[in-house]
Amino acid sequence: MEMLYIILGTVLVNNVVLVQFLGLCPFMGVSNNISTAIGMGLATTAVLTLSATSGWLIEHWILAPFGLQFLRTLTFILVVAAVVQFTELYLRKTSQTLYQSLGIFLPLITTNCAVLGVALLTIRENFSFIESLIYGMGSAVGFTVVMVIFAGLRQRLSIANVPELFSGTPVGLITAGLLSMIFMGFGGLV
């Protein structure tokens, strides 16, 4: 039951993008069509889950026993960068088309603050290993869901008759704001 709360909480109530406002760069950058949004969501899911769990391992097995917690941010960034590099290598091997459509946004997952943010949040919330795994996965699923919803909206917006002044990114930002308000409505769920 506890786990269900964490999943619901991360996917809907405390959604990384729309409620905590982390990871807005890929949210605006790679949401132009649904297939790339799904690809980006899956790549970020892998990175987020891996970095949240390895962050937990490093915190509890290395940093805490040696009293080196002040190195948390630095080591987490190191791990995130390595995981992203690995994801990039893996994607390049397995799906050349996805690799090319994600382009520069793939290495930029390193600087996606959602990834580092979630890893740091799991430590702050004092989760167990399984809880932090689920927390990381839930946040990643929340990110992917929002990416897909937003990409679908933007695909429709691109053929809609938007006033010239608002077409493109401005109407995208307004849509993101409305979507964020909708997600705030999940607030009382958990």
Partner: protein, 174 residues
């Protein structure tokens, strides 16, 4: 203090080694020519060529989508070595002549207005059946007017020195 240094060194070593092996395990056979060309590029990823970085630019150059002269930091030496590598003829003289501007030979100009219609920066002034002239400050040396002129009366020339633009010649190398 020592522990922190040791920890970071160890983590760097472990992650670096793991990534190195992963890079070998997931190695993708790319076009070897692209890799060679991207090795020759400056590698600063400055993006002045209009591509996202040096590797995409190298791909475009190999595919023929971009000129070998598209890299400003690489300059003429890079253009020359790329041209040699890819077997392309480029006129290096045209790269070395410095800044040139369109110049309309007024003896031949018929005032057909074709050159100023193609000028992207409105650097050519004139009217129908009036001799045109070029405003150097607005000319970007794109050479579109040279192609458009039916009289072949436009040349690309260095700016005529005036008191404002003349400078001492550089000392000759010994």
């Amino acid at each position: 203090m020592i522990g922190a240094i040791l920890l970071l060194t160890l983590m760097g070593l472990i992650l670096g080694t793991a990534l190195g092996y992963a890079a070998k395990a997931f190695h993708v056979e790319g076009n070897p020519l692209v890799e060679e060309v991207s090795q020759m590029m400056p590698g600063t990823q400055c993006g002045q060529c209009g591509f996202a970085g040096c590797t995409p630019a190298a791909e475009a150059i190999v595919n023929g989508d971009a000129e070998v002269t598209c890299c400003p930091p690489g300059g003429t030496s890079l253009a020359a070595s790329l041209a040699k590598k890819l077997g392309i003829d480029i006129k290096l003289d045209s790269l070395q002549e410095g800044v040139v501007f369109a110049h309309i030979n007024s003896a031949l100009c018929t005032g057909c207005t074709r050159c100023y219609k193609v000028c992207p920066t409105d650097a050519i002034v004139g009217a129908n059946k009036q001799i045109h002239m070029v405003i150097n400050a607005a000319c970007t040396s794109c050479r579109r007017c040279v192609e458009a002129c039916p009289e072949n009366c436009i040349d690309m020339l260095p700016e005529q020195a005036t008191l404002d633009t003349w400078y001492w010649p550089k000392p000759k190398a010994a």
